[in-house]
């Protein structure tokens, strides 16, 4: 090869490298420029075409568990990206896919329900995910327990909470405190008679002193609530007849509105407020 052709080849190579650097710089700058243009999106358009898990599981060629892992990992990133405003639109659908691909994979049920309640503020989606967990894993008490907790604490739907705790208690291995949560749900539902009976049952079957004490406190609270309702009802009737509230509880007994002046479970008198006609216990049920 002559010196001239070698030099020419070297110059062409340099020119080519300069061309490559120029085009690389150009496409990098253009990528930034294109990214800066805000494109309109359809709500949930990034995931709207994800098919149902029933169909997807045939497309995974036996790698169903890995596919479930991959979608779960992606879902965690997706749902923790606040810039995607409409990310919760298909929450139940996404977790249904993961559940369908790997029904025994426990984390997605719990995390999916948590995201539904805490982030999406969508308890219905949480119930749907947890119900699926309970159906696919009938030996796991944690799903009806979590659903009961959501119903009790978030939704304040006490009959629903009672139903879930009842379902949970029937699963072997469920912790004994679930029965106490169920009793509490019954109390909050307003069924004081059943609540009393349930707490009494817990008290009688209590395996230790601590549980006995807890049950005792609740029994104290249930009785105080029943008594307070009776007193307030009597005080209201008294006001209807005399146009004013009674000065004390003894007046209610004397005038026949109460058969006897109620006492709390410890034998102490209730504190009566003549201005409002209401009673309360001397000590808090939880500090006895």
């Amino acid at each position: 090869m002559t010196k001239t052709s070698s030099a020419k080849k070297g110059a062409t190579t340099l020119l080519l490298i300069a061309f490559l650097m120029g085009t690389a710089a150009a496409f990098m700058a253009l990528k930034g420029a294109t990214d800066r243009v805000a494109r309109e999106k359809l709500p949930g358009s990034s995931i709207i075409y994800i098919p149902s898990g029933k169909f997807l599981k045939y497309a995974t060629f036996g790698y169903r568990a890995v596919a479930a892992d991959a979608i779960y990992l992606w879902a965690i990133q997706y749902y923790s990206t606040p810039t995607i405003d409409d990310r919760f639109d298909h929450l139940d659908h996404i977790f249904a896919i993961i559940n369908e691909l790997d029904p025994r994979y426990q984390d997605p049920y719990e995390v999916g329900a948590l995201i539904a309640v805490e982030e999406a503020r969508n308890p219905a989606a949480a119930f749907s995910i947890l119900d699926r967990g309970a159906t696919n894993n009938p030996d796991q008490w944690v799903y009806p327990f979590n659903a009961g907790h959501v119903a009790l604490m978030t939704l304040k739907d006490y009959p629903l909470a009672e139903k879930y705790f009842d379902q949970c208690m029937k699963i072997p291995g469920a912790p004994e405190f679930v029965e106490r949560l169920r009793a509490n749900a019954i109390f909050k539902k307003g069924d004081l008679q059943t609540s009393w009976e349930t707490w009494l049952d817990i008290y009688k079957k209590a395996p230790d002193e601590r549980t006995k004490k807890i049950a005792s406190n609740h029994l104290y609270n249930v009785k105080a609530t029943i008594d307070a309702a009776a007193v307030e009802d009597a005080a209201a009737k008294y006001r209807e007849r005399f146009g004013r509230l009674p000065a004390d509880l003894e007046t209610l007994r004397r005038t026949g509105f109460l058969r006897e002046v109620p006492k709390d479970m410890d034998g102490e008198d209730y504190l009566y407020d003549p201005a409002t006609g209401t009673v309360k216990t001397v000590t808090s049920p939880w500090r006895r």
């Binding site: 080519l16 490559l20 085009t23 496409f27 253009l30 990528k31 359809l42």
Partner: protein, 254 residues
């Protein structure tokens, strides 16, 4: 002139490739089959036809670019016809560009035919020619041009099977690289973040050519993105072709 001659020969060669017609057949089947899928839906049938039709044009176009593109240069080397060609006063860059343009022309014709079938099916349902669909098809074609350049780059130094796998990986990376943006937002500043940012900038972003959702749903497309996406495609293609020329120039055939 020499580039034109090589392109013409490449076009004629590609025309004779049975793979091209097989893929075209399946593309036509996909576009036509969209009508059958639409029957299964409840609601907007035309949307399904448009979605599946555009996806078929894109998918089979990419397969054409990869399966034909990856064999173009390799075949010349394998059959030793490269010796005859390079013994003529022909620069290797001209050879690469000729091959590239020949395949681009082939893909243009194929895309045109696929689009005609697609538009005819849409017309049969809506009784109007939807010009907006051509925007999506145009950018699909730009994507095919880039994938063709990539197929030729790999074909210039590797076997067709490996080149196909590399080009397919390029295509998949191109459609998934947007995920790096999400990772970037969650990363703490440091070397790792700089590395991911570099990857995000350098790796192809084929979503820049994807206007299918906007077109099908009739969403407005910001005017600025047409030009920047087009120029991005042109520059990236030029870069890949430059790289292919650089690699091909250094190859020793003896």
């Amino acid at each position: 002139m020499k580039i034109g001659a090589i392109a013409g020969i490449t076009f004629k060669e590609a025309k004779r490739d049975r793979v091209l017609y097989l893929l075209f057949f399946f593309a036509a089947l996909g576009i036509g089959g969209a009508r059958a899928l639409a029957i299964l839906t409840v609601g907007d049938r035309v949307k399904i036809i448009k979605d599946v039709g555009l996806a078929s044009i894109s998918l089979f176009g990419v397969l054409m670019a990869i399966l034909i593109g990856t064999g173009l240069v390799y075949k010349e080397i394998d059959k030793k016809t490269i010796f005859t060609l390079l013994s003529k006063p022909l620069h290797r860059a001209e050879f690469i560009l000729g091959k590239f343009l020949g395949l681009v022309l082939t893909l243009f014709v194929m895309t045109l035919f696929m689009s005609l079938i697609f538009l005819a099916i849409v017309y049969a349902h809506t009784l109007k020619v939807e010009g907006a669909l051509l925007v999506a098809v145009g950018y699909i074609f730009l994507e095919l041009v880039l994938v063709t350049a990539v197929a030729i780059l790999f074909s210039s130094f590797s076997t067709p099977i490996l080149s196909s796998l590399f080009a397919l990986a390029f295509y998949l990376i191109g459609h998934l690289s947007w995920g790096l943006e999400l990772i970037l937002k969650k990363m703490a500043p440091g070397t790792g973040k700089s590395l991911v940012r570099f990857l995000y900038t350098v790796l192809p972003d084929l979503e820049n050519f994807n206007f299918r959702t906007e077109v099908v749903h009739g969403l407005p497309i910001p005017p600025g993105i047409y030009l920047s996406s087009f120029l991005y495609g042109v520059c990236y293609t030029a870069f890949i072709l430059g790289l292919a020329v650089l690699v091909f120039r250094r190859r020793d055939f003896i």
